[in-house]
Symmetry: C2
Subunit: 345 residues, 2 copies
C-alpha cells in the first residue's frame, strides 16, 4: 500500500463519515449508531478489520486518477481525484447496503469478525439500516454536482442504479439456486455477473468517466472492472473450499458445509461423478469437508476453477493494459489487481 492509496483511503473514510452523518440527529441517535456500527466505526470490535478493505472506492479513485487528463481548474494538482470522492463513497455505501440485506437473507451471524446488524438489532431494524445506506449512497452520488456538470452526475447515477438492479437480479438468482441440484455453469456466470461484477465494473467505469476519459477508454475500464469481479469471485470460490480456513473444517468457513453454489461445486455437478452423487444426498457435516474437498480435486474441479480464474485475471489485466492507465495511479491499479487475485486467504 503506497502513499497515494493511503491518502485515497483516508479521504474515502472521511467522505463516508460525512455522508452517513446525515442521520446524526439526537432523535434518531440509536439508528445512526446502527449505521456507524455496520460501517466499522463504533461498537464492539470497531476498527480497521471491521471497516473492510474499501476496495471498491479505491478502485474508483485509482481509475479516475489514472486517466491522466487533469481538470483545467486544477492542472497539475495530485489531488484532482478528490473531486470524484463522493462517487467513491457511493459505491462503498451500495456495497454495504447489499451486505446488510444479504446477511439477513442468508441468516449470517458474523461479518468481518463481528455480529451482523440483524443479529444485534433484529431483522426489521436491519432492513431499515440497509435501506438508509442505499438512500445515502444515492445522495452521495448526487453530491458530485459540486464539481461536475449535471449531465455527468445523471450519467453516474444511471450507472449506479443499473448496477444496483443487477445486484438484485444476482441476489434473486443466488437465493433461488439454494437447494437446487440442476444448476449449470451458465447459471453461475449469470449470478456472479450480477452479485460481484456489476459493482466492480461500475466502479471502474464511473472512475474513468469522472477522470474525463474518452468513450473507448471508459468501455475498457468497464470491462476491466467486470473481469476483475469475475476473477475475484472464482478466486473466492477456490479459497472457500481449499483455503486454510475452509480446510480446517470449521463449518462456517467452508462453502461445502454451507452448500454454496460455487464454481468448483457446479463444475463437479455437471461432471456428475461421485461428488455429485454425495452432494445430492444433502447437507455436508464438518467432518466430511476435508474428504469432499479431496474428491472435488480428484474430479478436476480445482484445476478447472484455477484455470478459469487465471484466464479471467489475464482478461482483466489485458483490459487494463489496453486502457493505458497513467502515472502512480496506473501502477497501483496493476499492483492492486495482482494482489487481489493472488490472495492466500
Amino acid at each position: 500500500m503506497n502513499q497515494l492509496q493511503q491518502s485515497m483511503l483516508n479521504a474515502v473514510e472521511t467522505e463516508l463519515k460525512r455522508q452517513v452523518g446525515r442521520l446524526a440527529e439526537p432523535r434518531t441517535a440509536p439508528f445512526y449508531e446502527m449505521l456507524t456500527y455496520h460501517m466499522g466505526w463504533s461498537g464492539e470490535g470497531a476498527g480497521t478489520r471491521a471497516t473492510g478493505k474499501r476496495i471498491r472506492p479505491l478502485i474508483l479513485l485509482l481509475c479516475d486518477a489514472s486517466i491522466g487528463k487533469k481538470n483545467a481548474d486544477n492542472a497539475g494538482e495530485d489531488t484532482d481525484w478528490l473531486r470524484a470522492n463522493p462517487a467513491a463513497a457511493a459505491v462503498e455505501l451500495v456495497h454495504n447496503f447489499s451486505l446488510v440485506h444479504d446477511d439477513i437473507q442468508d441468516k449470517s451471524h458474523q461479518r468481518r469478525g463481528r455480529k451482523t446488524v440483524w443479529t444485534k438489532w433484529g431483522s426489521p431494524m436491519a432492513i431499515n439500516v440497509g435501506d438508509a445506506l442505499f438512500v445515502i449512497a444515492n445522495q452521495a452520488a448526487l453530491d458530485l454536482k459540486a464539481h461536475y456538470p449535471a449531465e455527468v452526475v445523471v450519467r453516474v447515477a444511471e450507472i449506479l442504479s443499473a448496477c444496483c438492479l443487477d445486484l438484485t437480479r444476482g441476489q434473486f438468482l443466488d437465493m433461488s439456486y439454494e437447494k437446487r441440484y440442476d444448476l449449470t455453469l451458465n447459471d453461475y456466470w449469470t449470478m456472479i455477473g450480477g452479485k460481484t461484477s456489476a459493482l466492480l465494473s461500475a466502479c471502474a467505469q464511473i472512475g474513468a468517466i469522472l477522470g474525463n476519459a474518452d468513450e473507448t477508454q471508459i468501455e475498457l475500464y468497464r470491462r476491466f472492472g467486470y473481469n476483475l469481479g469475475l476473477a475475484f469471485q472464482t478466486q473466492d470460490d477456490i479459497l472457500g473450499i481449499w483455503g486454510d480456513e475452509a480446510l480446517t473444517g470449521k463449518s462456517s468457513a467452508s462453502d461445502l458445509a454451507e452448500g454454496k453454489n460455487s464454481l468448483p461445486i457446479l463444475y463437479a455437478l455437471e461432471r456428475n461423478g461421485k461428488f455429485a452423487e454425495r452432494w445430492r444426498q444433502g447437507s455436508i457435516a464438518a467432518d466430511e469437508v476435508s474428504q469432499l474437498a479431496t474428491l472435488l480435486d480428484e474430479e478436476d474441479a480445482k484445476n478447472y476453477a484455477e484455470n478459469a480464474s487465471a484466464e479471467l485475471t489475464q482478461n482483466a489485466l489485458d483490459n487494463l493494459q489496453q486502457a493505458n492507465p497513467q502515472g502512480a495511479a496506473g501502477e497501483a491499479l496493476f499492483e492492486l489487481t495482482k494482489r487481489l487475485l493472488k490472495r492466500d486467504q
Copy 2:
C-alpha cells in the same frame, strides 16, 4: 374522478409497467412476477383494488399541470404533464418499496385484500423485491432527462432521496416506539412527518418544479403536500379506531388491537386517565376494542384528533389556495384534497 384524472391514472399505470419491465427477462421471470404481483397486475386478486389508488403520482401530475406555465415546445397542449410522468412513476415506486419492507417489518399478512409479498415468497425474497422497486424508482426519476435539463433531474433526484431518508427515519421511530408507553404527541408528529408527509410533500414539490413554478410557489406546493400528509394520517388514525371496520372488533382492522401508536391513543396516554391505565397493562383483545374506543371518546381523544385533522386539512387547503393552482388540474387538486380528507372508510 374526471377525465383529466382518469387520463393521468392511465398514463401512470403505463409508465409503471414500462419501468418495472426492466426486470422482465426470462432468466429472472419469477422475480419479475413478484414485482408485478405486488403492483397489482398479476396473480390472484389482481386488478384495481390490488393496485391501490395511485394517489401520490396523481398529486404529482396534478400539481405539475396546475402551474399553468406551458412548456415552450408544446404550448397549448393539454398533455404537457406527460413529460413529468417518469417522476410520477418514481414516487409510486418509492411508496411501494416502503410498503413491501413495512409489511415484513410489521409482519402484516394482508395488503389491499391480498397476501403480502413476504407471506407468499418469504422475507429474504421480499427484502429483494423492495430493494428492486427502490432501484427502479431511482431509474424512473433519472428518465426525466428525456424532457428536462440535467440540473432539474438532479434536483428532483435529490428531493426524492431526501424524502426516502425521512421515510427510513420515520420507520425507525415507528419501530422503536413499539412497546413503549412514554411517548409524547411530539414524538407522534416527528414520526408521521417522516412516514407519511415526506413523500406527499415531495410529490407536490416535484410536480411544481416540473411544471416550472417559481421558487415561492414551489415552497407553497411543498407545504401543501406536507400538511395534506399530516391531515391524511390523523384522519387514518381516527378511522383506525372509530371507522366501521375497526369498530366491528376484527382484530386486524383496529389500531387498538394492534397496539399502534396513533394520535388518539397518544393523546389519551398524555391525559393519563383510565384508558392509559388499561393500555399499560398490555394487549387488547378483540372483544375489548369497542369498549376501549368508547373510553377514548369519553376522554376527549376523538374530539382532539378530529380538531387536529380539521386544522391540518385547513392548512393544506390554505397552502393550496396561496399556491394558486390553475385550470382543471387546480380544481381537481382542491376536490381530491377534500375527498381524501373526508373519507368514510
